[in-house]
Symmetry: D2
C-alpha cells in the first residue's frame, strides 16, 4: 500500500472513539496520529481500552496537540454541539483536511429541523457541505466529500431496510412504525442510575417512545427516497445486551408484494454493498437478522416477513451499534474518501456463538 492516511480522533476516550481507535489501529492503510481527550490527557489509552493491551503504547493527548497540517483526516467523536466549531475551523483553515464527524451536528440538512431536535447551530452555512455518511445510499457523494456526517446508529438500522421499499413506493408513508431494541453500550462510557447494572440488567425499557432525536435523520433520508415528506413513528427500547441494535419496521403495503419481489428489490439496491447482507432463510434458526450475528462486525443484516393477514410487511435490520452504527461506518466512509476498497480494515466475520 502507498502512503498511509494520517488520522486523528478528537474525543477518543468514549466508546465511539475507543472502538474507532481499535479499527484504525488494525487498518493497514492508516497511521494514527493523535487520540485526544481533555479529561484523560497523559493516560495510556489501554487504561480505558483494556482490549488494546499489546497493540498500542499510545496515550491520550489534549486536542491542542493536534497539528491539522500533519493529518489527512480528523474524526470527531465529541458530543453534538461540540463538533460545530471544530468543523468550522478545519473547513476554513485547512483545505487539505477531510473531516468525518460522528456527532449529529452536520447530519441534518435543514437548520430548523436540527435546531428543533438539538440546539442552535453556529455554522448553518456548512450544513449543505456535509454528506450524510451512509455509504449504501450516498456512496458516490461520500467519495468526493470533504465533510462527512456519519449517521446515528438507530437511523442506520432503520434507513437501510426502509430506503428501497420507500423509494419503490410500496408502502403507506403515513403509518411507518419503527420499533428498535438496543444494547447498553448506546449510553456511551458515561454512567448514571439508568445504566447501573442491577437496574439495567434484563430490562425491556422504553425510552423516548416519542420525540427521539434520531427521527430527524430518518425522515430526512426517507423523504428523499419518497420524493415527499415522510413522518415516522419511532420508539426505541433498551434491552439486555451490550452491543447491538435490532430494528423492527412495521409498514403497510400499497399493493401485494411477494418474497421474490423483495429479493429483487434488495438485491438491486444493495447488490454492490458488501456490508449489507440479506437474511431470509426458511430452514434455520437464523432465518432473520439478529444482533448476535453482526456483533463485532460492520455488517448491516436486513430481512423481512410479509403479513398478508394485516396487509403488512415487517422489515428487520440488525447492526453492531458501535461499528456499523459508529466507528466502522466512519472507517467505511474514510476508505471511500481516500479511494480505498470500502472493505479495507473492516472485512471480519462475527463470532458464533457470540
Amino acid at each position: 500500500m502507498a502512503q498511509k492516511i494520517r488520522a486523528s480522533i478528537i474525543g477518543a476516550s468514549g466508546y465511539t472513539g475507543g472502538d474507532l481507535m481499535r479499527i484504525l489501529l488494525m487498518h493497514e492503510g492508516v497511521e494514527l496520529k493523535c487520540l485526544t481527550s481533555e479529561r484523560f490527557a497523559g493516560v495510556p489509552v489501554t487504561k480505558l481500552n483494556p482490549n488494546l493491551r499489546g497493540f498500542t503504547q499510545a496515550t491520550f493527548v489534549s486536542v491542542t496537540e493536534i497539528k491539522p497540517q500533519e493529518n489527512d483526516v480528523v474524526f470527531l467523536c465529541v458530543p453534538h454541539e461540540k463538533a460545530q466549531d471544530y468543523v468550522a475551523d478545519y473547513m476554513k483553515n485547512y483545505p487539505h483536511l477531510k473531516i468525518i464527524d460522528l456527532s449529529a451536528d452536520f447530519r441534518i440538512h435543514d437548520q430548523k429541523t436540527y435546531e428543533h431536535y438539538y440546539c442552535a447551530h453556529r455554522h448553518p452555512q456548512l450544513l449543505k457541505e456535509a454528506v450524510y455518511g451512509l455509504p449504501e445510499i450516498h456512496r458516490e457523494q461520500i467519495r468526493s466529500a470533504r465533510l462527512v456526517a456519519c449517521p446515528g446508529c438507530l437511523p442506520t438500522s432503520t434507513i437501510l431496510p426502509l430506503y428501497p421499499i420507500v423509494k419503490a413506493g410500496l408502502i403507506d408513508l403515513s403509518h411507518i412504525v419503527i420499533d428498535s431494541k438496543i444494547g447498553s453500550a448506546a449510553a456511551g462510557a458515561s454512567f448514571d442510575i439508568s445504566t447501573h447494572h442491577p437496574e439495567r440488567q434484563g430490562v425491556v425499557r422504553a425510552y423516548k417512545p416519542s420525540g427521539h432525536r434520531h427521527i430527524a435523520e430518518m425522515e430526512q433520508e426517507l423523504s428523499e427516497a419518497a420524493g415527499t415528506q415522510v413522518k415516522v413513528s419511532f420508539s426505541p427500547h433498551g434491552v439486555e445486551m451490550v452491543r447491538g441494535i435490532f430494528t423492527t419496521v412495521h409498514a403497510f403495503l400499497n399493493r401485494p408484494v411477494k418474497d421474490v419481489d423483495m429479493w429483487k428489490l434488495y438485491r438491486g439496491a444493495y447488490g454492490n454493498s458488501p456490508f449489507v447482507r440479506i437474511i431470509k432463510d426458511k430452514e434455520t434458526l437464523y432465518r432473520y437478522p439478529e444482533p448476535k450475528m453482526v456483533a463485532g462486525t460492520n455488517f448491516a443484516d436486513i430481512g423481512w416477513e410479509i403479513d398478508e393477514h394485516a396487509n403488512r410487511i415487517v422489515l428487520m435490520g440488525a447492526i453492531d451499534n458501535l461499528i456499523k452504527g459508529s466507528g466502522g461506518q466512519a472507517t467505511q466512509c474514510m476508505n471511500l474518501m481516500f479511494g480505498l476498497d470500502e472493505k479495507t480494515g473492516l472485512w471480519q466475520p462475527g463470532l458464533h456463538p457470540y
Copy 2:
C-alpha cells in the same frame, strides 16, 4: 377460612404447571390433591421444581389417579388439542367440577378461527360455554363460569392496555401495531437448539413476525370492545430475560388525546382491578412499565406516551408471563369462581432490584 378448595393440576411438570403449583401450595384457601405428569409419575415434584424444596413432599402421579368427585376444580396445563377431551369429559360427567383451562382450546369462541390457527376442535359445542379468563375484562362472567379459558400471555399484555382505548373509539382500528418482547421461559420446559443457552443468550430474535396464533385472541377481544371486526399487526421478539413480557402497542389517534384523558380512561376501566397498575411517572427512571418490576407477581403494569408528531399513541404493557400470563391469572380466576377475594394468594410485590 372455611372449607378449602380441593384442586388438581393436570400436566403439572411444565413451567406453567410448576408455577401454578407454587402459587396454589402457598394459597391459604387451597388443598392440592393431584399433580399429574405421565412422564414423571412417581417422581417428587421438587426434582423439577427445586425452589419448592421444603414446601412439599408431593410426587407427580398419573392423570388416572385423579378422582374428579374429590376435587372442586381442575387446572389444565396440557398443550392445546390435548385439553379438549378432558374438558368435554369433566363438563359432561362431573357437573360439580369447575375447570380452568390454561391451554388455547377454549379461548376462541369461533370454531373456524380456532381451527385456522390451531387444529380441529372435537367439541365445538362447548366453545360457547367457556369464559375468556381475563378478570379485568370479564370479571362477572368468570364469577359464575364453570369453564374458564385462561388467556395467552402475549394477549394478556396486549389486551389490557388496548381494550379501553379501543372501546372508547380513540384509535384507528386499521393500523394497530403490536410489538412484543418476551423472555425465554415462554418456550416452556422443553428445549431445542433455539433455547440452547449459547444460541439464546442476548438475542433479539423475531419469531413468527406474522401469523402468530395469539392474534386470534387479541382480535376476538378487541373486536368485542370495538363492536366491529378488528385486525391487528402482531410481531413478538425473544429477548434476553427468563420471565417477562413487554408489549409496545403503536396506535394512531382518531382525535387528539391528552395525558389526563388517558388517566381517566384507564382509571375508569381498571380502578377496581387490583392487579392493573397504571405507570406514568415524569420524574423517575421507572416512568413506564417494565418487566423487571412485575417479575414474580401477578401485576399487569400499563402505561402510555403520546406522540403528537406522528399522531400516535404508544401503549405499554408489562407482565410476568408465568404468573399474570399463566398460573397467577388462573388463580385469580379461581378466586373469583369460588367467591374469594381476587387477591388471595397473589398479593405479593416483586423484588427490586430483580
Copy 3:
C-alpha cells in the same frame, strides 16, 4: 396476632433498606413507622422502589423524624462507621428499644480487628453487647439480645457450610480456601464505572482477591467453632447476576469422610433451622445449591462434594445476598427477638425458573 412491632429503618433508600422495607411491609406482625433518608426526604418510597407501587404510600423522612420512644425496634441500614453513634445513642437513651444493625460496626467483637479492617471505633465498650445475628449459630443469644449485628452477605454464605465441619474438627484449618461468586446488587444502589452495565455485564471479575473486610467475620466465627484461631483464604468474584451469592469452600480433610457423615453433621447442626436446606441430590440437574433457587427467599442452601483424589471436601453455599444476606436475616433476627416464629413474614419459596 397481638400488638404489632413498631419498626423504623434508618437509611432506607439503598438496596438493603429497600428490600428490608418490602419484607417488613408484608410482615403481618410489623407496623412500619419511619423510613429515613436524608437525601430523599419527602420523596415517596415507590420512586426508588417501583416494585412497591400499590403497597405503600409512604415517603422517606429525615432521621430527625424518628421518635425512638414510639418504636420497638430500629434497623440500621447505613454504611459502617455511620451506625456507631446511632447505636450508642439508642443503647444509652432508649432502654426499651431493640437495635438491629445491618452495618459492620458491631459484628466484630475485637476492637483491633475491627479497626484493622474498617476504621476507628468510637464506642468499643458496646462491642461486647452485640450478638452476631446469624440465627443458625446464635439463635438463643439473639432471642435475648438488645443489639444484634447482622452478618455480611459473603460471611453468611461461608460460615453456614463451614461452621459444623470446623467444629467437628474434620478439616485442616490452615488451608481453607473460600472462593465466592456474587451478583451486582452487592454494590448497593450507588454506581460508578465498575457497575456501568457495558462494563459489568457478563464479567467474571476478581475484586479484593486478598484482604477483603469480610474475612474478619469469617475468622471470628470459625475460630469460635474451632476453639482456636483460624485464618481463611478468601477471594470474591463479581459474576453476571443481580441477586445472589455462591460460595465454594475448598477444604482439606483431616480424615476420610463419607456422604453419610456429612448428612449427619449438617442435619445435626441445622435440623431445627428452617432456612437452611441441605442440597445433595444424585439424580437431577439441581444436585448442588444454586443462587437461582434461593433468589427472592431467605434460604441458605448448603451442599458438598468429596474429592478423594485430592483429599479435599468442596462445600457450597447459596443465598440471596439482599435477603438471607441482609434484610431477610435481619427480619429473622427480629422475629426471634420478639418471640415470633422465626419464619414469620419470610416463608416464601423462590421462583422456578428464575
Copy 4:
C-alpha cells in the same frame, strides 16, 4: 506468501469446528479443503454458522470425501475416543500429513491415566508421538511435531499461570486449589435441559466439583514443571457468559514473594509469547485478567495477587475457551508446525465493551 497450507477439519459442525473454520477461512496462509460432518453433509456451513454468511459458500461433506494426500494438515474436532482411529490411520498411511487433534485422545502421555479418566485407548503406542499443544510451554516440540494434541480449555487457563511458579518451586504442591468459572459455549452445540436458557441463564452452577477429566492434563504438565508428582484440587463452575473462562488458582507460598518477583517470573517465562499478556494494574477497573477482555481473541491474560495474611498467592487466568482454549490454539500450533509466524491469522484485539 508461498504455497498455502491445505487443511481440512473433521467434525466441523460443532462449536469447536465452527470457530476453527472461521479462523482458517480468514487465515491468509490456509486453503480450506474439506469441512466434514456426517450429520450435516450437503448442508451449507453458513446454516450452522450464520456469522460466516458472505465469507464462504462451502458445504459440509462426509469424512469419506477427504483425500489425505491433498491435504497438508488435518484438524480433528471430534469427541474423544472417536479421534483415536483417525489419528492411527493418518499416522500410518499418510506420512506427509500433520495432525492436530483437538480431542483429549492424545493429550495424556500415560495410558493408564487416560483410561482412568476417559476410555480404553486402542493405539497407546502413539501416545508418545503426540506433543501437548500448548505453545507457550512446548513451542519447540510443536515446531517439529507430526501429531499435536491441543490442550483442553480449562487446562489452558490453569497451566499458563501455574507452570512458571510451580517450576520455580515457590508454592506448596499439596494444596493447589483451582476454581474455574466457565461460559455456556463449553457445552458445545449439543443441548439438554442443563443448557436450556431458562435453566442456564444467570446460574452459578458447580459441575464435577471433583473428578473432572481435565485434572489429568493439569497434573501431567504441572508434574513435569515440578519434577515430581503434583495433585490438584479442581472445581469448575458454569456462570452466565457464552464464551470465556476465568480460572482462580489459590496456592500457598513456600516463601515470601513480592510483586516484582512475579513480574520477573512471568516475563521470563512468557516474554516471547505474544499471546500471553501479564495483567497487573493498580489504577484501573481492569487490574486483573477478565474474560470480557479476551473474548474473540487468542490471548491468555494472566495475573496474580499476593495475600500475606494467609500466606497465599492468587493466580488468575482468562481465555476465550473457543479460541485460545480450542481453535485459536490449534491454529497457533499449525503456524508453528509450518514455519509461519505464530501470530498469523490470530493477531486481533478483542472488543471493548464486549
